[in-house]
């Protein structure tokens, strides 16, 4: 059975953390169509979180077409997320690795790299608006 976890210090609302975990597991193949998700009560008592948070996460997944409730049986995975096309994926990864090596050669720390990525993304989002 799939198990969730919640990171209290991440700043991401708990329900979104649950949604992300399902999405990520679908991408990675840990969850597949037809798999049953744990009941609201099981998740709530397992993680010691508000049951309404779990309900909200499951509703969000239903809204995205990734999960659906079957009366009396629980919530099941009904959709799948196709992983990125491997071709594009490989090319992107290669250029990213090149970039990371350049950053390393330029003496950037891990933190500086993360900060640079965050700033670049932030500025790109602003340009789009």
């Amino acid at each position: 059975m799939f198990r969730f976890h919640v990171d209290g210090s991440s700043g991401v609302p708990p329900y979104l953390q649950l949604v992300h975990q399902v999405r990520q597991s679908l991408l990675l193949g840990y969850l597949q169509e037809g798999d049953r998700l744990p009941t609201v009560k099981d998740v709530a008592s397992d993680l010691v979180i508000n049951p309404n948070t779990v309900v909200k996460a499951y509703r969000q997944l239903e809204h995205e077409g990734l999960a659906g409730g079957r009366p009396g049986q629980g919530t099941f995975i009904t959709g799948s997320l196709s992983p990125d096309p491997p071709e594009a994926h490989r090319a992107l990864r290669a250029s990213l690795e090149r970039w990371l090596r350049d950053a390393d050669a330029a003496g950037l720390s891990d933190e500086a790299v993360s900060a640079l990525i965050a700033v670049a993304r932030h500025d790109m989002k602003k340009e789009k608006v």
Binding site: V6, G8, A44, V48, I49, N50, V54, K56
Partner: protein, 318 residues
């Protein structure tokens, strides 16, 4: 548990107030907690949390206004009022000369919906022998007996006043685990006063912040978080220029960080080129409201704070 918007509120207070001599312990408190919610009540010591809880459950008579539980007025010390709520006080009151079994027997005799199976299972899981006298138990064990009795009463509203302060982290987690399971199972409504803000985020979907006898903030956690932004702005920016109500502000040499209750009509202004607007976290939000000076808080009507464009209250820390 899905919530029905039309359903009667689990807790409702209208202009509730209580005066102790010349001093108001709580004043003008109007709020609502829907059935099935887990509501966190946060405030510094002396803010009026216990006064509010005791009027809700009918242990204390209001000086003005009223409180109701599931649509029926809470009246001090009437059986009907007391049957609808389970209450655990800060000091976990028990009869010290009773054995644990006696305490559970008392609970069973006095409460028609008593769940003896749950009570015994919890005592067993916690390793507390029913034959032991209450006074021979450790503080943590006494707290567990008192919390167990509150759960076994199976009342639709569970009110916890600083329930877990005397428990170690694991015992605390185990107790809250049982409360979460009961909420998922039976739609139990929980009102919990606590200082452990970091713990409340995962437990609560409803939040009430109380300071100096006044409600500062009350509502569904998701809505409250969505209504606030953390703005990074140039130092020279005046509070009045901010698109909403400035709750907390800290200034550094060149820039200021302001936690703002955004005015829905002025959300577009958040896209200001020189400003950065970030979402607000649960703990950040609670602490910002707790840190407001009581004077700023008292003149503020929380119900209208979001709708009112200005003038903004000065809440500056330097």
């Amino acid at each position: 548990m899905t919530r029905d918007a039309a359903a009667v509120a689990a807790v409702q207070t209208t202009r509730l107030g209580r005066r102790y001599g010349q001093v108001w312990g709580l004043r003008d408190c109007t709020l609502e907690v829907p059935a099935g919610a887990i509501a966190g009540l946060v405030g510094p010591n002396g803010a009026g949390k216990t006064t509010l809880l005791q009027m809700i459950i009918g242990l204390l008579k209001p000086t003005e206004g009223q409180a109701s539980v599931f649509g029926q007025t809470s009246r001090a010390h009437t059986a009907a009022t007391l049957a609808r709520v389970s209450f655990v006080a800060q000091d976990h009151p028990l009869y010290r000369d009773f054995s644990v079994a006696d305490m559970l027997h008392l609970g069973r005799v006095m409460n028609p919906s008593w769940d003896q199976g749950l009570a015994l299972a919890r005592m067993n899981a916690l390793g507390i022998p029913p034959k032991r006298k209450v006074k021979s138990l450790s503080g943590g064990q006494q707290a567990q007996v008192s919390l167990t009795m509150a759960l076994a009463k199976r009342a639709p509203l569970l009110v916890l006043d600083e329930p877990v302060s005397s428990l170690d982290p694991i015992a605390r987690l185990e107790f809250m685990r049982d409360v979460m399971a009961a909420t998922a199972d039976t739609g139990l409504t929980v009102l919990i006063a606590s200082h452990v803000v970091s713990e409340l985020e995962r437990l609560c979907d409803w939040l009430i912040v109380l300071t100096a006898g006044h409600v500062q903030l009350a509502g569904p956690v998701d809505d409250l978080l969505a209504a606030h932004r953390l703005l990074t702005v140039p130092r020279a920016t005046q509070d009045a220029e901010l698109p909403g109500h400035c709750i907390h502000r800290s200034d550094s040499d060149r820039h200021s960080t302001a936690l703002v209750r955004a005015d829905p009509a002025r959300m577009a202004a958040l896209d200001h080129p020189g400003w950065q607007a970030d979402p607000v976290g649960f703990e950040q939000l609670v602490l910002a409201y707790l840190q407001r000076p009581p004077a700023a808080a008292a003149q503020d009507d929380p119900a209208q704070a979001a709708a009112r464009p200005g003038p903004t209250t000065k809440a500056v820390t330097r």
